[in-house]
């Protein structure tokens, strides 16, 4: 079931979380994203689907400013993606399939490092660990964690940043059924807070229950 693309009416235009025009990004001779144009109203949940290698992760990484676009013009939360990169970063958090974790540090230490770099206090770390179900394993090194546990910790990392735009790249991957519920709860909570959420996923049925809109990528192009 393909959902409608976000509306183009002026009312929608003003509250745009993302405005992408002809976005392009290549790796060598291959274009991972080509001619991608879409708009996402603020405070909505957008589901991004597509087969493996269709460019979902690349799209998220571009929006998170991890990589630069080769072509096109993108504004995120009103900030230009290239010229106002710092501002975009302050407001955006990415859940990537790279965990961004330090293997030799404990779960707690990983979150503390993030807090210190953000310049926020470390009081929130403990409750956050409990929230994602890692309360007991907080003081174990990440190298001892299973894939699902790392995913949960990465989630905690995202929540720690209190973003206005959350980019979740395959959040359900590697999680157990309780984890699935956790992800759903988090998405609902983020939306309730007014955060815009993009979810790249293969769990189409589950996510479409939460999503306001959907996009599909194939071969780097929007369908």
């Amino acid at each position: 079931m393909i959902w409608e693309v976000p509306c183009y009416a002026p009312a929608c235009m003003t509250g745009l979380a993302i405005n992408a025009e002809k976005l392009g990004r290549r790796y060598g001779r291959r274009w991972a994203l080509a001619d991608v144009t879409f708009r996402v109203p603020a405070g909505t949940v957008l589901m991004v689907s597509g087969p493996n290698g269709s460019g979902k992760s690349t799209l998220f990484r571009v929006l998170a400013t991890a990589i630069r676009p080769d072509l096109g013009k993108v504004t995120v939360l009103g900030f230009d993606l290239i010229r106002e990169r710092e501002d975009v970063r302050k407001a955006v958090a990415l859940l990537s399939h790279h965990s961004y974790l330090y293997e030799t540090l404990t779960a707690r230490e990983n979150l503390v490092v993030v807090s210190q770099h953000l310049g926020v206090g470390t009081d929130g770390v403990g409750p956050l660990l409990a929230r994602v179900g890692l309360g007991e394993r907080g003081d174990d090194a990440v190298s001892t964690f299973s894939a699902g546990m790392r995913k949960r910790l990465s989630f905690a990392r995202v929540l720690l940043q209190t973003p206005r735009l959350a980019l979740l790249d395959e959040p359900y991957a590697q999680l157990d059924p309780e984890g699935f519920d956790l992800v759903d709860d988090v998405i609902r909570e983020l939306k309730a807070d007014g955060t815009t959420v993009l979810v790249a996923t293969h769990q189409l049925e589950r996510t479409s229950r939460l999503a306001d809109n959907a996009l599909r990528l194939e071969g780097g192009r929007l369908l």
Binding site: V5, G24, R26, Y27, G28, R29, W31, A34, D35, T37, F38, L71, R221, L222, L223
Partner: protein
């Protein structure tokens, strides 16, 4: 590739090369046969007519590479990366030539191939640094990343050159001072200057040609995607 474009764009560098070669032949003939022999060293000194021009131009090449690196980091235009790639390679070639010339001069004069002269040693160090940069370029596929990184490395290496020179000079000063001959007499000046100009033309020609090769490759790498007329017309 398009031969018409090719022949037009290589005319200027070929002129430089031709002029340079001509002047070089003239200047070297003068230096080898007409100019008087240096009073202490005899005919071996004549290598200066090639060595000194090469050295001056090497220096210019390094400065040019440094400028291209900064220009690229500031405005990101690929042509500066192409020029930098060319000048780094040409400067490396000249550095190698300098080391060879220096050794050829040193052996009959001092009895050793290498005498740790500060200038030549600095050239050798920078040769290795530039070779490292060329190696770095070969390991990075993404053209933008490659350009940024090699610009950074070129800047760092170029800044190092004066520091290397002074440190080697002080390091070597504790030992017997062995200096390369100074060309002071005016009889030496003319062929020297002719050759300096000649090598300048040659170097410019080389750099221009090499830049074109680099630029051609870059424009191929950065080609825009094929525009597939997809079924998504209404969304575009």
């Amino acid at each position: 590739m398009d031969t018409a474009v090719h022949s037009r764009s290589t005319r200027t560098p070929l002129i430089f090369l031709g002029l340079g070669a001509l002047l070089f032949v003239f200047g070297s003939w003068w230096g080898l046969f007409i100019a008087p022999a240096e009073q202490y060293m005899g005919d071996v000194q004549r290598i200066m007519y090639v060595h000194v021009p090469t050295a001056w131009n090497w220096m210019l090449g390094v400065i040019f590479a440094f400028i291209c690196a900064i220009a690229y980091l500031i405005n990101g235009k690929p042509k500066w990366d192409a020029r930098m790639e060319a000048s780094v390679e040409v400067a490396s070639l000249f550095a190698l030539l300098l080391c060879i010339q220096g050794s050829v001069w040193a052996k009959p004069t001092w009895g050793v191939w290498w005498d740790w002269d500060p200038r030549l040693t600095s050239v050798a160090v920078l040769l290795f640094a530039f070779l490292g940069i060329i190696a770095l370029r070969n390991f990075v596929e993404d053209p933008v990343k490659r350009a940024v990184w090699s610009s950074v490395a070129t800047i760092i290496a170029s800044v190092d050159l004066p520091i290397v020179y002074f440190s080697v000079k002080w390091w070597n000063s504790l030992h017997q001072q062995q200096s390369t001959p100074q060309t002071v007499s005016s009889a030496f000046h003319l062929p020297l200057r002719i050759n300096a100009l000649a090598v300048l033309f040659l170097m410019t020609g080389f750099i221009m040609l090499r830049t074109r090769v680099a630029a051609a490759r870059l424009s191929e790498e950065m080609a825009p995607p094929p525009m597939v007329p997809g079924p998504a017309g209404e969304l575009a």
